[in-house]
């Protein structure tokens, strides 16, 4: 551990990652299922945002397009929707952990 040269640069991320992965305080929430969630994002979010997420009736969900929003804002939009627009609240169908997983994948542009 002490020999790790890049530790000082790495640790904030590592610790943050740890906090984040523990943060789903909501005990009892099942761990996100990547296969199921990827299918949901591509197929069902895709009905408005496009299968490739480059947009449709809904806005593109590309890394550039999502730049101005931070992760928590995206989680909020996914779970509670945007009133007055067709973006529905997904809270009845997704857990907070699911929404965080989706927001991270979209922000990082690495949806499987």
């Amino acid at each position: 551990m002490q020999q790790m040269p890049g530790r000082s640069r790495l640790w904030p991320n590592a610790v943050l990652g740890l906090i984040v992965s523990m943060a789903p305080a909501s005990a009892g929430e099942a761990a996100p299922d990547p296969v199921k969630l990827t299918n949901l994002v591509r197929q069902d979010c895709g009905s408005c945002h496009g299968l490739t997420l480059k947009g449709g009736l809904g806005k593109p969900l590309t890394v550039e397009q999502l730049g101005p929003w931070d992760r928590d804002q995206l989680v909020h939009i996914i779970l509670d929707g945007i009133p007055g627009t067709p973006m529905p609240p997904w809270r009845p169908l997704l857990t907070e952990r699911d929404a965080r997983w989706i927001a991270d994948r979209l922000k990082q542009g690495n949806l499987p």
Binding site: T52, G81, P86
Partner: protein, 392 residues
């Protein structure tokens, strides 16, 4: 197990001849196209033999793809999400023209004389019109609403007299474009019709155009036989102040159910269909359904209407008796039922079951399953008989 099934499916694909159709003579009246949305391909199917007879690949992003057919029913014009417009020869199972005409598009229509193809675009918005034979651009109709902003267009249909109708999603307008002189389209603009028209369609006689609104409870009606044209609101506040449910998939008016003097329309954010009397355009009843309807498609002849539903209740189909407006049969073909298409005279119906990678074929009178074909993430199903129908 899944692995083995996939390999088997892959082997089956290899066994399908890509150009097995050219030998010998045949008609196209019992052919159709099935969209494979995730792989950018389409299947050519024979509805009489209940078989796949060809496959065409390299068609781009086919989420929400749709097809219209040439009057001779030989060519299908495929509208992809990525702006791709592709002319497919059903007899040779090949691409005979392809043009990526915009950044993001939503559907198209063919003129009554079969000479023009119009495409409805999200990006850059507006409608572009192409020569049906060469796919050369004939006319560009940017959809600048009354407020001067470019609008996405939806609900594009053909009308008699080389005309097209469509709705401006962002601007809340309905436009009717007359392309008698293709280079100089004459556009009639009906402004301020309502908030966020999400789709539109025309009755089979080409007379009544309806656009569904997302931003408010209501539907906009334009009687194309009247002059001057004007937009009227119908089914105003059909929710009567109830809070609508979250909508996880926009309903479609394409293939809507026109039966005698009634139309059955999906209610937005509600588990019901609304019946509309096509003489008065007043509400004529409601049908309680399993979920939020996406498509309500009448069996040719109009005896029944088949209804599928939005996520997460999208494994089920309701069949509605059009005399009693009651659901008489409910069944679950499988995960993600996306589309239903009847054979021309309505004896059978093909159902795409996306997440089972399958298209099921049912007897439309007994509701018994007659067969199935394999397809990769199938969505829209389009049979060539559409070539003979106004608005399709």
């Amino acid at each position: 197990m899944m692995f083995a099934v996939r390999w088997l499916a892959a082997l089956l694909w290899l066994a399908i001849p890509a150009t097995g159709l050219a030998e010998g003579l045949r008609g196209t009246g019992n052919l159709g196209l099935v969209i494979e949305r995730a792989t950018g391909s389409v299947l050519i199917v024979d509805t009489g033999a209940r078989q796949t007879i060809g496959r065409v690949e390299g068609l781009g992003d086919l989420s929400h793809a749709s097809v219209v057919f040439s009057p001779d029913q030989r060519y299908g014009y495929l509208f992809g999400r990525d702006g791709g417009l592709t002319r497919i020869d059903l007899l040779t199972a090949s691409i005979v023209g392809r043009f990526v005409q915009a950044g993001n598009s939503i559907g198209g229509a063919i003129s009554d004389d079969g000479e023009l193809i119009a495409v409805s675009n999200y990006e850059p918005g507006g409608v572009r019109v192409f020569d049906a034979r060469t796919l050369a651009l004939v006319a560009d109709i940017p959809a600048l609403g009354a407020e001067g902003k470019a609008s996405k267009t939806v609900g594009l249909v053909d009308l008699p007299g080389r005309r097209f109708a469509f709705a401006l999603y962002n601007a809340g307008e309905i436009w009717i474009a007359d392309l008698s002189n293709a280079e100089t389209p004459a556009v009639t603009r009906l402004t301020g019709v309502g908030k966020l028209p999400y789709d539109g369609n025309v009755t089979p006689d080409g007379r009544h155009y309806l656009a569904g609104l997302f931003g408010e409870d209501g539907v906009v009606h334009v009687d194309m036989w009247q002059s001057p044209l004007k937009a009227a609101r119908i089914l105003d506040r059909y929710g009567h102040g109830e809070e609508p449910l979250p909508v996880y998939k926009m309903p479609h008016l394409e293939g809507w159910a026109a039966i005698g003097d009634r139309l059955l329309l999906p209610a937005v954010g509600r588990h019901e269909l609304i019946a509309v009397d096509t003489r008065s355009f007043a509400e004529a009843g409601r049908v309680a359904t399993h979920g939020q309807p996406v498509f309500a498609v009448a069996r040719p002849g109009g005896r029944h209407v088949w209804v599928n539903f939005a996520h997460p209740l999208n494994d089920t189909i309701d069949i509605v008796d059009t005399l009693t407006l009651k659901v008489i049969h409910r069944f679950a073909p499988g995960p993600a039922v996306l589309h239903m298409e009847f054979t021309p005279r309505g004896n059978e119906v093909w159902v795409s079951v996306r997440d089972a990678d399958r298209v099921d074929i049912y007897d439309a009178a007994t509701f018994a399953k007659k067969g199935q074909i394999s397809a990769q993430k199938p969505s829209g199903i389009f049979f060539t008989a559409r070539a003979t129908r106004i608005g399709q």
